[in-house]
């Protein structure tokens, strides 16, 4: 990604191998940039952004909507579930997949399917957790894993055009929510980090990741999740600075565990936390230099919940709406 700033003029050029995306606050200089590129390379001008890396983009006065409807429909068609009954959630509530059962005869089929689903998470935070769990079994997929994957497909069938909406009114403040389960993976007792970052009100980054080490207590797992989210915030601040958006205000990090907040705030040596590696205390530095502020949020408003566990439909649907996931193709 390249940017050019000249006084108030700002142009950003994003390059993905041979696809180029240009944006900026001045139309004339965009045209100039295009002319310059034309003189250097053999290019095709595709006009306004509509389809980039398989993502459908549509802009309106209210904001920009991205979705991967065509890609989702292709996946559904591929597994032959176009006629299947749709389902409300991507994964059964509280489902824990084990590594027992009948091995799949064609593991490549599973790998291909999950690989495609991973790319679909680009515009769909709603299936991120389910896909994250499925991808743990890539090396040795079994029958029950395939069944779980097909359930995700049936969920997609219900709303293939669901995507993210970036609203035009924005206060440019970074807010992150992070959460962790504790020893949630039945196979090796590791915990899962989940976080999502908003450039309010637009969701720009999210992740669901199994932690690398075993945590002895839930607080420790939560603290690690907090550090992970903090790293992401630091990087995003840098990225936004490159995009000409300097943050005077600190980023807010919302958390639902008071104990973890205390560890982050007080550099006190506790018996229970002395084994946590020093790199985890990265977050303390960030709090002290004022770039991150931590806030408590009750579990009911914890938006990162959806990235660490599979929810039932009564929680799932309101949650994804809060994340900014919408379906502009649906009649409602």
């Amino acid at each position: 990604m390249f940017t050019k700033t000249q006084g108030k003029l700002f142009i950003a050029l994003l390059i993905y191998v041979d696809d180029i995306l240009i944006t900026g606050n001045d139309h004339a200089s965009i045209v100039d940039t295009k002319k310059f590129l034309h003189s250097q390379f053999n290019l095709k001008d595709l006009g306004n952004l509509k389809y980039f890396l398989g993502i459908e983009v549509s802009a309106s006065k209210k904001g920009i909507f991205i979705c991967q409807r065509k890609y989702a429909l292709e996946i559904i068609d591929d597994v032959g579930l176009l006629g299947a009954a749709p389902i409300n959630t991507p994964m059964e509530r509280g489902l824990k997949l084990s590594d027992q059962g009948v091995l799949l005869k064609e593991p490549s089929k599973y790998r291909r399917l999950v690989g495609r689903l991973i790319y679909l998470t680009v515009s769909r935070p709603d299936i991120t957790y389910a896909v994250h769990v499925l991808s743990r079994f890539m090396h040795e997929p079994r029958k029950l894993h395939m069944e779980a994957a097909l359930r995700v497909i049936r969920y997609l069938k219900g709303a293939p055009g669901q995507g993210l909406f970036f609203l035009s009114n924005n206060d440019f403040r970074l807010r992150a929510y992070c959460d962790s389960d504790w020893a949630g993976c039945p196979l090796n007792r590791r915990s899962t980090t989940g976080y999502c970052v908003f450039l309010r009100p637009s969701l720009i980054s999210w992740r669901s990741k199994r932690q690398k080490t075993v945590s002895l207590s839930s607080v420790e797992a939560e603290y690690r999740a907090m550090t992970g989210a903090c790293c992401e915030l630091t990087w995003l601040r840098q990225l936004l600075k490159d995009l000409g958006l300097i943050h005077h205000k600190a980023a807010l990090l919302f958390y639902d565990n008071k104990a973890a907040l205390h560890i982050a705030a007080n550099p006190v040596f506790h018996k229970r936390t002395r084994h946590i590696e020093m790199d985890c205390h990265f977050i303390r530095d960030k709090i002290q230099d004022g770039s991150v502020i931590t806030r408590y949020v009750s579990s009911a408003h914890q938006l990162a919940d959806i990235l660490t566990k599979s929810l039932g439909k009564e929680n799932f649907v309101p949650m994804i709406r809060k994340l900014g996931v919408q379906d502009i193709h649906s009649p409602t």
């Binding site: 990604m1 944006t23 991205i66 609203l167 995003l236 990225l239 995009l243």
Partner: protein, 138 residues
């Protein structure tokens, strides 16, 4: 196919030389693809010359590989910002993108079928630009 050959030659992708001893040329082939419009009708037939990059050896034919890709989060970030500031978004596509990359290594390729001139049967192509299928293009 003719237009692909013309593009390759206009770009200075290769020069024809005799093969120095101790070098092995890598093979190449044409890959044909029917490009469809979004409504499913045929737009054009596309031919692309690819080198058989899997025969290249690390450390001899190539050193390291790199392609400029953007993180998807950066893309989302830029889109969110563009939405918030009301910036217009434009998109462009580079023709024959890989052919713009210059090659540092000395690589020889057997001439593609279709490019045969009389009296030059023993010549090979010394590549100057990157070609689809080369390790340098991945």
């Amino acid at each position: 196919m003719t237009s692909e050959l013309q593009a390759l030659q206009a770009n200075g992708t290769w020069t024809l030389t005799t093969l120095p001893t101790g070098k092995t040329p890598i093979g190449c082939r044409w890959v044909y693809k029917v490009k469809l419009r979004s409504d499913g009708t045929v737009e054009r037939h596309k031919a692309r010359l690819v080198a058989k990059g899997f025969t290249q050896l690390e450390g001899i034919d190539y050193q390291d590989t790199f392609s400029p890709t953007a993180k998807i989060i950066s893309v989302r970030c830029l889109l969110a910002l563009a939405a918030a500031c009301g910036w217009s978004l434009h998109q462009m596509d580079v023709h024959n993108a890989f052919l713009h990359g210059n090659l540092a290594e000395e690589i020889y390729m057997s001439p593609p079928p279709g490019l045969q001139r009389q009296g030059e049967i023993n010549l090979v192509c010394r590549l100057h630009k990157s070609l689809y299928g080369l390790k340098q293009a991945s």
